[in-house]
Symmetry: C2
């Protein structure tokens, strides 16, 4: 791994750069970001060596780590310019439309669709941390469509990042992620909104908030520039998950109205097992 | 602080005992719990010196740390048996019905209504930790109704716990807590249910869950034995908050259906400020 080019120098792109620098001393990383300030910060804090619009011809890997709606165009453009030995990977949070957009591209085998389940509620190059991916899940889609040698290169990188790999189809990916990621961001944003609205009457209400509230509302700090496109790209799956969630809340609400506390107790008891399933103790 | 009696030896009662032992060497703590096993564990792991149904006559403080629905009866019974120098305090998560239940009690001035905004999603004496209250908010209601000397005793304890005090009326307390505590427990339980239901079709879905999901669903591990009574006691306030939350989710859902991404972006951007308000960076 000698030359890497990163398009999008935010939390994911920046953290990827830091992890590679640690794992491959002497690596040369170039990059670009449509945000001028982020681009300059990325050089200043040493995420990349040089700002470059286009990757050098002998680049080992080009990573696209921009908001999902920009990825199909970028990906087609990048795939049109590379040579045979360059692997192209993206970190988009939805995968179906991206995979479909380059399905028939002559250089399809140079591409690998990836999604790291890693992030914080912060964004931008300054939020980058070298261990962001360590121990985290990385989902790969349509691995069979990537060239064998380039797959070898990819595995070298994944080992350096310390990720745990999962494999699934892009449609399945987008549906499941709507439930375990996109929905919890929306629930958190709306919890934040509900309390902020209440704050107009009770301005000191947040003084009463404990760590439980902070934990559930943490994701409401997430970037709208990242999340608006995810909602758009994954609209139908998100609507499915969101409607299920609203139905569950309304059913719970109705059980409170009906004073059906036995049912509420039993329901909460059944849900408790999610703690063990997620190893929340750890 | 020489003699303390604790009714309810769970997470709160147990952690209170540990904090007092640290702050007041030589203190003698007795206690009781309707759960036989918890009671014995509390002695075994050294939370209390001795199991006792009733406090000794010269006890400095009796703490009631049981589920909220049991507090009014226990409190009346305890207040009926104490001498003038004993302070009685409860840690119930709702305060209006409790304060009302002893409003006319001849020993009202021996009572102080308290609610520490502290806890974890675990319960029982083994979950007790000595620093649970350190740096946390503790809300006091109707402080003016407590005897001056006993208030002095209470302040000595609060200083030892390291809590930050807040003062408010019991009605205001219950309404605000519905928003910043009770609602986020329900939102978390229902998020857990939505994903568990989905798991019936996609049994590996939790393999895809990242730290964001874990954070929002953490409270779904909370004890139904604690939360069912809270929902019952604070029914009207919880319904108010829950209905606001459901309305906000439905509005967000409708904006997705209508592809109104500009509005969604702006909305999420406005909610972002809750991060700064809660100092979530820290």
């Amino acid at each position: 791994m000698k030359k890497v080019h990163i398009i999008g120098l935010g939390l994911l792109g920046g953290s990827f750069a830091l992890a590679l620098k640690k794992a491959f001393p002497g690596i040369r990383i170039t990059g670009t970001d449509h945000n001028q300030q982020h681009q300059e910060e990325a050089v200043q804090i040493g995420l990349i060596e040089e700002i470059k619009d286009v990757a050098a011809p002998d680049t080992d890997l080009i990573l696209i780590a921009t908001p999902v709606h920009t990825i199909p165009d970028l990906l087609r453009s990048v795939l049109g310019k590379i040579d045979k030995n360059t692997l192209v990977m993206d970190f988009g949070s939805t995968k179906a439309q991206i995979c479909q957009s380059i399905a028939d591209h002559p250089n399809r085998e140079n591409y690998l669709a990836a999604h790291p389940i890693a992030g914080t509620e912060f964004s931008g190059p300054k939020a980058a941390i070298d261990h962001l991916f360590s121990g985290k899940i990385l989902i790969l889609c349509e691995l069979e469509k990537t060239n064998l040698e380039l797959k070898g290169k990819a595995y070298e990188i994944f080992e350096a990042l310390g990720v745990k790999l999962r494999f699934m189809g892009p449609m399945e990916h987008d549906n499941q992620l709507a439930y375990v990621s996109h929905l919890s961001h929306i629930s958190s944003f709306m919890l934040g909104k509900t309390v902020l609205d209440k704050m107009e009457d009770d301005k000191n209400i947040l003084n009463m908030a404990g760590s439980g509230f902070s934990s559930t509302v943490r994701l409401a700090k997430s970037s709208p520039a990242m999340w608006t496109p995810i909602i758009k790209e994954n609209k139908s799956n998100i609507l499915e998950a969101l409607n299920q969630y609203i139905n569950n809340l309304m059913e719970f609400r109705d059980e409170i109205v009906q004073d059906d506390y036995k049912k509420l107790f039993k329901k909460m008891e059944e849900i408790n097992r999610i703690g063990n399933l997620l190893n929340l103790e750890k």
